[in-house]
Amino acid sequence: MAIAETAPTAAAAPIIDAEEARRARNRRRERLGRWLMPLIVLVVMIFLWDRICVWNNIPHYILPRPGLVAETLWVDRLILFKALLITLRTTLLALLVAVIGGVGLAVLFTQSRLFEMSFYPYAVILQVTPIVAIAPLIFIYIQSKLIGMLLCAWIVAFFPVLSNTTLGLNSADHNLRDLFSIYGATRWQKLRYLQLPSALPYFLGGLRIAGGLALIGAVVAEYVAGTGGVGSGLAFTILESSYRLNIPRVFAALILIAAMGVVIFTVLSLFSHLLLRKWHESALKREG
């Protein structure tokens, strides 16, 4: 009788042992820490930066105080925003072309071993040659600055997409490959229903790397194109402002480039999570 009376109460109360409670505490701490800790570090760094400027009487054309950089961000917002849009446009276009070119080449590589043997070494050579060494030549041979910049950014960005997608296309489960063969799948069906879905996590990993590299490529291209007297993106703004000793604006442009890189990475990570969240190990949450 006593057991029957106490049973509902016992069932209603969740059983949490010490280990479970510690785990829950750690989870809460980690959720909070993920945002709070970088924020604290940022505030401390800005504070130190400001104090270093004040304590050492550093002039603003050498190292501006954070407040002045923030003020420049606001005062020069129209110039900076316009420059940001131009750099962003080059970056996104280059990323788009890198995706099309990288995935397209990867598909061709996996469809034809001969094609892969012929061209893969050149893709590697293109990747390992520093873009700053090639960029001046590109702007000599290509008249359109936009196409030149796109080409620079593409050269830097396409390889991770190509390399990862090729790996992914070749990583389809061998039993599934056999199954497709047994059921008489055509080459196109194997590619569409097996190889491309298998390659998706690899491609998305490459895409996240390519996003950052496309920005680097775009910035390098703007530097090189800018020295030729053309260009008005953020990199050119940095170049021009440094000539004029407008260091606050250099910092403002730098902050915008870094912020753009973070936003691109975040958006691509979110995109990746949305596509993989239902089935891929990398996007699944585990208990314990």
Partner: protein, 265 residues
């Protein structure tokens, strides 16, 4: 219980109609000198449950790959009664081999999808195949949400969905725990009783082969070849009574003796 020498297929064939599938002196040689399979002859009749039993390297899986058309014999012939079509075969591998990005229903739809059939048109067949393995309520689940045994059931449903003439099973329950394996053995026989399919089943387990099969083909390694055929003449349906019967034990002893012969003990 009889322990028969190889080549006995001919004797069985004389008492039955034309075989659904026959292997006639099939050999497979890799790299010019590695004889994976030597002169295998086997007739499989409609409704047979044939187990290929033997040690690693005896050519069981090679034989299955040849039957599946994934590889071609170096010599000998494989004949299908009335010729072979892509829908004639259902295959279950050792791993569930499901597409992790697709739902259970989409996985089962695969054989039809590759033949150009739309999902909506095939939905009744997909539901029916999943109902046969008791997973009709999991159509929209992803493989990661299922247990090992459930994934294997999905794999079996996929093999059944085209209503194939022959199902090839390559050690399908080897990676499962003993309890799940036991249950799936029972379920497989129940399924077979319901739909009357013909099965070739590769296994390392004497007990599993005796419980499931009507015939056990015992193979030896180096070179891979058939050395005995053991007929398991216990009637179906088989359940727990059969597992604990003296008849089962006698068949296990006979299969075990044949296997020891194959291993060379």
């Amino acid at each position: 219980m009889t322990l028969q020498e190889t080549g006995v297929a001919a004797e069985t064939a004389a008492a039955q109609p034309a075989p659904l599938l026959s292997l006639d002196g099939v050999s497979k040689v890799f790299n010019g000198d590695l004889v994976a399979l030597k002169g295998m002859s086997l007739d499989v009749f409609q409704g047979d449950f044939v187990s290929l039993l033997g040690p690693s390297g005896c050519g069981k899986s090679t034989a299955l790959r040849l039957i599946a058309g994934l590889s071609h014999p170096t010599s000998g012939r494989i004949n299908w009664a009335g010729g072979q079509d892509a829908g004639d075969l259902g295959v279950v591998f050792q791993e569930p081999t499901l597409m992790p990005w697709a739902t259970v229903a989409q996985n089962v739809w695969l054989p039809w999808r590759l033949r150009g059939a739309k999902f909506a048109a095939m939905k009744p067949q997909i539901e029916e195949a999943l109902a046969l393995v008791g997973l009709e309520k999991f159509m929209d689940s992803y493989p990661r949400e299922l247990s090992g045994g459930m994934k294997m059931r999905v794999s079996i449903a996929r093999a059944l969905v085209t209503n194939p003439r022959l199902i090839l099973m390559d050690e399908p329950f080897a990676a499962l725990d003993e309890i799940t394996r036991h249950k799936l053995n029972n379920d497989l026989l129940a399924l077979r009783a319901k739909i009357g399919c013909t099965i070739i089943f590769v296994t390392h387990s004497v007990f599993e082969s005796v419980f499931l099969s009507s015939r056990i083909v015992v193979m030896a390694a180096r070179p891979g070849r058939v050395i005995h055929e053991v007929a398991v003449d216990a009637p179906y349906p088989r359940g727990e009574d059969f597992r604990t019967s003296t008849d089962y034990a006698a068949h296990c002893r006979a299969a075990s003796a044949a296997l020891h012969d194959a291993i060379g003990d």
